[in-house]
């Protein structure tokens, strides 16, 4: 059974009233709302009593119709004032007097029916089905079914926007992270269960802690891959709160998960396995807590000729290396960071002795200088003469002279 509420210009009232009676609601048009009323008998009694209850609840003049099919209820509510309850089997009889304009047919069909002298539901319902099908096709057959109250369809319920957010108000302020973790676990478990029931995952966790000193402590964790793992979420939040604890006891917790479709990945049996994203996230969070976020990640070279210029990106296992052959091994420089200042003695414009905090020795062989410079238009240009040297300690180094300041630096050793 379905009930239709019709009140032009009062959509909000109609929706509020419909939501009071049923969770299955269709907003058909801006003035029509249909709700499913199966199972409401034990609560409100017969369909007549239910219609009266709806009329009392709605509180404004509205047409209300109850029928076995949604389209029948819609037509009755639009065409008959007041409350109409259509018993099963008498749909055609009740709808017979309604004008055809309520059917919503195409202008061409409406014109043909008007030319035939068909103006009401009852006249259309009385026409032979084969004749209608032969002359008006599929639309004609459908309109005849509507006019007889025989059409059947499923309700198209309103889909509320998905929100995975929960709030927990505490009786007493919590000032330690350990008891707070229990409360967070409760929220996370509930939210993950809701995600699971809709086959979704989350790619962002937003935590807002309301503190006793009337300030807020916010933490936003962006996940590189969609996840739905409560222990992993809890560990990530714990690590975040360990690194950045709230400055005052917590009186209220609000947590929200950003829902996304879960990742679908077909594993290739010919490729090596990569770290599991959930475990990797926790490991990276632990490493960042230990060493700082700037010291953990994938290096990426900057688009510049400046020596030793790179940035650290977040490490992800989703980037696959292109299939290419490996070049022959080559000599690599171990860099000293930050650059070590060195004192260099020159003879015939060649370094003959180098001493710094790190090394000290006579130069056995030196080649250079190799001059490089660039970014003269920037606040910090570089302009240097590089030398490769072999020292008496048996090691090979690269040193350079900053031509702007005249200072020498130990850049690294070949290893």
């Amino acid at each position: 059974m379905y009930a239709c509420l019709y009140a032009p210009g009062n959509l909000a009232v109609l929706l509020e009233c419909a939501q009071y009676f049923s969770p299955h609601i269709e907003q058909t048009t801006a003035d029509t709302v249909v709700l499913r009323i199966d199972g409401l008998g034990p609560l409100f009694g017969s369909p007549d009593q239910l219609a009266t209850a709806i009329a009392n609840r709605i509180g404004i003049p509205a047409n209300i119709a109850i029928a076995t099919e949604p389209d029948t209820a819609i037509h009755a509510a639009r065409g008959i004032n007041g409350v109409t309850v259509i018993p099963p089997g008498s749909e055609a009889k009740v709808l017979a007097t309604l004008p055809l304009s309520l059917l919503g047919s195409t202008p061409e069909t409406a014109q043909i029916l008007d030319a035939w002298g068909i103006h009401t539901f009852g006249q259309l319902a009385a026409l032979p089905p084969l004749g209608i099908a032969a002359r008006l096709g599929e639309e004609g057959t459908y309109l005849r079914e509507l006019a007889r109250g025989e059409s059947s369809r499923q309700l198209r319920p309103i889909e509320e926007p998905l929100q995975f957010e929960d709030t927990l108000e505490l009786d007493y302020p919590v000032d330690l992270l350990e008891p707070l973790a229990f409360l967070l676990a409760r929220l996370i478990n509930d939210l993950c269960q809701r995600l699971s029931s809709r086959a979704l995952a989350a790619n962002e966790i937003r935590l807002c802690l309301f503190l006793e000193d009337r300030t807020q402590h916010e933490a936003i964790l962006k996940l590189p891959v969609p996840m739905r793992d409560p222990p992993a979420f809890l560990k990530l939040l714990q690590l975040e709160l360990d690194a950045r604890p709230p400055q005052s006891p917590v009186v209220k917790i609000r947590m929200a998960l950003e829902p996304v479709k879960p990742r679908t990945q077909q594993q290739n049996i010919f490729l090596p396995s990569a770290p599991e994203p959930e475990r990797l996230e926790i490991t990276l969070a632990r490493l960042m807590n230990l060493l700082g976020a700037e010291n953990v990640g994938s290096p990426r070279l900057r688009d510049t000729h400046r020596p030793d210029s790179f940035q650290i990106d977040r490490f992800s296992t989703l980037k696959k290396s292109p299939d290419q052959s490996v070049p022959p091994p080559r000599l690599i420089l171990r860099r000293y960071r930050p650059l070590k200042h060195a004192q260099v003695i020159l003879s015939n414009q060649h370094p003959v002795q180098v001493s710094s905090q790190r090394i000290h020795g006579k130069v056995l062989t030196s080649v250079g200088p190799w001059r490089t410079s660039g970014e003269w238009w920037m606040p910090e240009p570089w302009d240097r003469d590089e030398w490769d040297i072999a020292l008496t300690d048996g090691a090979l180094y690269r040193i350079h002279e900053d031509r702007r300041t005249g200072r020498w630096f130990l850049e690294g050793n070949y290893d």
Binding site: P275, R279, L291, N295, P322, P329, I332, Y414
Partner: protein, 224 residues
Amino acid sequence: MTAAAALREHVRSALIHRFDVDFTLHQKPAAEMVSTGFDALDSLTGGIPRTGMTEIYGPPSSGRMSLLVSLLAQATSRQECCALIDASGAFDPAGAESAGVHLPNLLWVRCGGNAEHALKAADLLIQAGGFGLIAMDLADLDLRDAQRISLASWFRLRHAAEKMRSSFVVIGREVNAKSCSNLQIALHPRQTHWTGKLFDGFTAQAQSAKTSRSTDVRLSVRPR
């Protein structure tokens, strides 16, 4: 035939009809090896163990970092995820990329010269699993700091690497893990090559510490 062998044969013949097993000692399967990128070194040691611990040690300018970068290049070319625990932050990304390392597949962890942090990072990364190669660079650490790492820690790391099927490679100035490592490669600089006014590279001697066999490895700044 000794008495023990005779007794063993007697038990075997008595039980052979009931149990379809042969009375032989369990043979440990040969370790899977992966290439180092250096043909001479591969023919010396067969590569490095696919699962387990390898220690590479030698003085400065003996080719330790170049060998490590070559291992990383080989691993990333196999589309494996790699991690480098850089105790002193000496890794050169530009040089590594030119040597064939696919940098997005490399997790670089800089420990600011703290051996304890490096050890903890290694523990976390090995336990995380899924990394094909995990390297730890202790070469610039103070010798006393590196030697302060207990044998129990090294053994735990090796055991975890074997369990997680990762290759764990450590480079340093001296041998630290001792018997805990599956393979030890000692490197010694032999000859520096200068071509006119160009530094061309050097030759290092690589020695397998367990077999005492050695070979020469040529490292060039601009390989042909």
